[in-house]
Symmetry: C2
Subunit: 127 residues, 2 copies
Amino acid sequence: MIVPDWVDKVDPCDANCPSREMLDLIGDRWSLLLLLVIAQGVHRNGALKRRVGGISQKMLTQTLRALEANGLVERRDFMTVPPHVEYHLTPLGASLGPALTPLFEWIEMRFGDVLAARAEFAGREAA
Amino acid sequence: MIVPDWVDKVDPCDANCPSREMLDLIGDRWSLLLLLVIAQGVHRNGALKRRVGGISQKMLTQTLRALEANGLVERRDFMTVPPHVEYHLTPLGASLGPALTPLFEWIEMRFGDVLAARAEFAGREAA
DNA sequence: TTCGGCAGTTACCTACAGGTGCGTACTTCA
DNA sequence: TGAAGTACGCACCTGTAGGTAACTGCCGAA
């Protein structure tokens, strides 16, 4: 079997391994989505909410706060009335993008295979 | 701001986008960990359980079934008594490894920055 | 003068992820 | 004779992720 190189680079069995914590951070339903649309140039609360259909105001605020707290997005409050707030990627947040590209490409390329495997597995179970 | 290339490749706002579903699959607490240790050459139920400290038998079985159902691992039951079962990566599962490498590398390289940002943010909040 | 948009906050509720503990059927070793 | 390892399945319980609804204060437009 081919063992990829990444197997030696992290020890996920160590509960202190940062990968555990980072996967908790970006592994939820909305974080990566928000990172993506902010990178696409959508910066304001209302616009984000409309663009990411299905997200509640609560989860939007909560997720943005978490991303801000971890230095991935920057919140700019213009202190005007009516309120005007903008969210932008920090350099750190922007650097995460390229790291995710291969994963999204894998999903695009291999999702068909996953669906096929799923169908084949379901068929085997039924038999 | 630099817009990475991946922003145009997927539309995560579309609920039908496979990325939503795949992130559900690998975004949980154990899937990536199990993929990793299986890639490292640990193949049997008991060995996996000992290696991934903290996982319960239930979640181990449940996660392995999910990975099997999606064609990422193969379950080989030797039909012996006492039971002997081995789990191996399928070619599809093995192909996921390289797609994750940049992400893990990003975590390794940038986790310090995240911690620093977190500390700085906590300090700002307290003030 | 009332309504909608701005960017939230708070309280409350539900569903599910995940943990604990027990049972199964068999074998080998002490 | 019984303890431990092998690979589970099932029932029950809890924590929390995430959703809903109602509220704030201010403005401009109809």
